[in-house]
Amino acid sequence: MIAEAGLAALWFAAALSLLQMGLGWAAVRPGNDNLLRLVRPLAVAQGLLAGISFLALIWLFLETDLSVKLVVANSHSDKPWLYKFAGAWGNHEGSMLLWVTVLAVAGGAVALLERKLRKDTLIGTLAAQATISLGFYAFLLFASNPFERSPVIPIDGQGLNPLLQDPGLAFHPPTLYFGYVGISVAFSFAVGALVTRDVGRDFAQAMRPWVLGAWIFLTLGITAGSYWAYYELGWGGWWFWDPVENASLMPWLAATALLHSVTVLATRDALRAWTVMLAVVAFSMSMIGTFLVRSGILTSVHAFAVDPQRGSFILMLLCLYIGGALALFALRVSTVREGAPFRVVSREGSLVLNNLLLTIILCLVMLGTLYPLLTEAFGTKISVGPPWFNTVSAPFALLLVIFMGMGPLLKWRKDDGNKLLKRVAVPLLLGAATALLIVIVAPDVHLLPMLGLAVAVPVALMSLMPLVGRNLRRTPLIIWGMVAAHFGIAMSLAGMASESAFSKEVLVSARPGQVSEIGPFTVRFDGAEPVAGQNWTAIAGRMTVRRGEGEEFVMLPEARMFSDPVTATSEAAIETHWDGQLYTVIGEPDGQGAWQLRLWWKPAVTLIWFGGSLVAIGGLLALLGRVMRRRSARKSVTDEAEGVPGREALA
């Protein structure tokens, strides 16, 4: 019953989105808002129905209803409830249903909450939103029905990939999807504004919170995903330039560029066409991300052909949406007037540079991700991995971070380059000193990590400078947000550089009682013992660890065996100190009483994720600041009361 109800809700939602799309496109004309009264409730109802359908799927997983194919293939009655719950989206069909649900709910939210946007543009926006969701409803209903019943009812399900049985799964994919979908909302705004020729400040101000929200989720998703890979895979790596990771990085890069250009548009009414173009690019990236991950093309071009129906369906949607958006852009870009003028050395100028560098990095990441697929199609298999990505993107990334530190110190319209250099002279000297110190003290450190630290130190200082000379208690949240986000980037960079410059590795085959030294720690291996969990058993290595003359503590890395499906994973034991992490893994026994141990001391590695979280927190502060300002602005007599100087001070 539940499965049929979920499927019915999905069909109804699809029908409503068809109606919403048809009415919306029929009605949308500059200055015409007659049908908004009809389109609004349609969007809300569509969101509700999609939500019901997703709740039905969660219900089926929690109940472990074995008459449903998807549950049989991905769940098991012995699984802890959290993974039954999260398992609902730990598979292809479920994750696509989550995607479309978030999309539909976001569409409903736009319809309910958006008051700033011109009404005719809102109709266009909702029509665009319905067009996107209709494609995904079709994909679900015709090519990946999550509610399909299975002809025979088995005794139990096949279980969930143990690598995915982790609290990380419960949060990681939804955060990324919220990000992708937020970007699609921003894109719908851009389409609406293009159709009604409304690209200007009001449109940018309406779009900005959505871009900011999407960007916060993408930042969180990437940070969490990186930490998840770090502790779950058991080799201490935190970024692999894996295509799946790149698929989430590319939308983030585009969203970061969009976030900054939409700020220029909202504040100074400049960069109009470019901002709209970026909205199209950011959306394309989130579609490509979905396509790369969901079509199976990544394992190999040939794996794509194994299930051609799904792959080609997504590819068709991808071409349709991106092609349509680009065509609309090309048709209407001539109606978008040039924005306000500015000089090279100015806040706008620095933001143009930020956009330029982010776009270059984005293109490089995309090239490196897709190039092996291209050559494979021509019959040559090549690998493009960390050495290439690091080398080509690092110079641009380091430049970008330096300008990120300087940009906020510039005035809008025009500024004096010499004045800026005087202000940042001290941090820059400190950076040079850092580089010199590393070259003298640790000459073995590679060039990139050395440069990374030499950039991170001054930029961390520069990013705090917008607070200098302000009354901290009266500094608006928006400024705090920017400072936090920029400081977070510098912090994360410092963590990455320090991890790759100063990590220590010890591999030993240890007998019980054997003592190893790593960094500042002494590790005594006391032996291996069996442990059991709800659906796994494990061998845990007991290690007694001591830092210098400090207190002893115990670490228990595990080698786990999961029962359904039978899989071996290693669970690292990680001890966090203020200045880094000790990362321990137990490997294979040698059959003669010794166990393979892998130990790493990673100084300052935690800064990577603290920095990433700080970036997200910065985004959240800025979002709160914007929302609160909008509230208070609505209460005051008019929006224009804030005036140009106020707007610029806050942007």
Partner: protein
């Protein structure tokens, strides 16, 4: 979940796990052992991170538990210890397994766009931005 079943399953698996988890052969000599000379070990480590584990999904041989990755690690450490340079070993691996094996693509007829792209992108970007600013000044 019934506690009796957990314990039974745990016992069964605890006995079976070490046997099931491994292949019958012991891992190659240098697979999980570091070279005594830290310089050589660092060289080996850098190379291992750039060599693809051919039977895994997107992992280098430095980050994989697969038997083949162990063999490759042992192979690389042994040859570094015998005094070969990482470039020589990489060339040998590429000759044997093709460019698929190295995460650092070499510059050749198939891969040159990868290396020209950064320059073209930077040039194109600067040209676009310059055009923008020049137009502004005339206004």
């Amino acid at each position: 979940m019934r506690p009796g079943r957990i314990i039974a399953a745990a016992l069964a698996l605890a006995i079976a796990a070490p046997a099931a988890a491994d292949s019958l052969l012991p891992p190659a000599e240098w697979a999980n052992k570091q070279l005594p000379d830290p310089r050589q070990e660092a060289q080996a480590r850098d190379l291992m991170e750039e060599v693809r584990c051919l039977v895994c999904q997107g992992q280098s041989v430095a980050d994989s538990d697969a038997d083949m990755a162990s063999d490759m690690r042992s192979h690389i450490r042994r040859r570094i210890a015998e005094g070969e340079t990482p470039a020589q070993i990489r060339a040998w691996l590429v000759e044997r397994y093709g460019n698929w094996v190295t995460y650092a693509p070499p510059v050749d007829g198939m891969t040159w766009p990868l290396f020209v792209a950064p320059v073209i992108l930077l040039g194109g970007g600067l040209w676009l931005a310059r055009g923008r600013f020049r137009r502004r000044k005339k206004m």
